[in-house]
Symmetry: C2
Subunit: 219 residues, 2 copies
């Protein structure tokens, strides 16, 4: 009897749907970013601050992934972005299929950027391609500076790592250089930004990074 590796089967099915999503995003000419972090690292706050800064210049859509509640989509809608909430009902990550299931509810053609805020989890979302252009791994200074090596998968896959909550550095023992060094060991091509989404420090570099990616995508 042939042995079936269920994990591999799920992964290749996900990859197929992710490729379909990617073609759809490319047709619509939108830049798509998949944000991954632990719960409470500041993904939604980063989106709020980003929407504020791109308001009037770029049209932003958000796909919010959460186990439960509509809290995050309400927060980004309050800042003027459109979007949709996916509740996984216990599921620990978004899949390409879940994203595909909501694309019909989004006016992709009129958008410039789609942010996908993944379920708060530093492990499971790391290996699920959703069809995004850029995978972003977020860390918060408040989580301690030992995290990259303890949760390596996301940094292997990410094109950008963000260290958020740098406004709290004066009250913490946190070595930013240790973190950036570890990310570099795991993935030398991963870029790194440090910022405070809440207070604004470093946000300019993040916005410039997005604009650069957007211009490359739009050619």
């Amino acid at each position: 009897m042939a042995k079936v590796d269920i994990g591999k089967k799920i992964q290749s099915e996900n990859d197929r749907v992710a490729e379909r999503n990617r073609r759809r995003f490319t047709e619509a000419g939108v830049l798509v970013l998949n944000l991954i972090s632990s719960p409470g690292s500041g993904k939604t706050t980063l989106l709020e601050a980003t929407i504020d800064r791109l308001s009037g210049k770029r049209t932003i859509l958000v796909i919010e992934g959460d186990v439960s509640t509509e809290r995050d989509i309400e927060r980004v809608r309050a800042r003027g972005a459109g979007g949709v909430q996916i509740n996984t009902g216990g599921g620990c990550h978004l899949s390409a299929k879940m994203v595909a299931g909501v694309l019909g509810d989004l006016d992709l053609e009129s958008a410039d950027i789609v942010f996908i805020e993944n379920v708060g989890n530093l492990i499971c979302p790391a290996t699920y391609d959703l069809g995004e252009d850029v995978r972003v791994g977020l860390l918060a200074t408040t989580e301690g500076d030992d995290k990259p090596m303890k949760y390596p998968a996301i940094f292997h896959e990410a094109q950008l790592a963000i260290v958020n909550k740098i406004d709290l550095l004066p009250y913490l023992e946190y070595d930013v250089e240790k973190v950036t060094t570890e990310v570099g060991v795991l993935n030398p091509s991963c870029e790194i930004l440090t910022l405070s989404a809440l207070k604004g420090e470093g946000m300019k570099d993040w916005i410039a990074w997005i604009e650069d990616r957007l211009s490359r995508k739009k050619g």
Copy 2:
């Protein structure tokens, strides 16, 4: 053809092994706590502070669960506790079988308390019984005060919720009462402690809570 629910099958196999672990722990007369939280909420720091305070009075063993690295077991060993590291190699939670696999390496008969520090993940570990007496859900003030309703499973299952990092409250917008109210809605019988493992505030209540549980277990 009979349909097999793989999720249910895994769960019931896990429950069987968890019951076996529980019998083993009870034979040895040890109190076993399963600590669950996001990465960086302070589980290991709480263990360090707990070991320091119970040193000379109670014999503590630690089972450390991590995707990768031996960092956490090194930290608790440095404080004088015995124990063992489980690396899941990508796995997002401990299972009863993983715990069963290391029990032979632990001198349970000479111990009073076994702490199991689960993999840093607020979702997947919540539904895996490991054979523990007490499931503890940790939150950090730095993660924001909207977490219980967004990650309800752990609070449905926990006997105790801990809000850690209260020393940072002066620098955050965090409503402790909102969090304790939400936990109470999810699980009215869940007890709640607020503390700072790093600075010591509230640690006395936590130690008293453990001693109370220990005296009940030992009869």
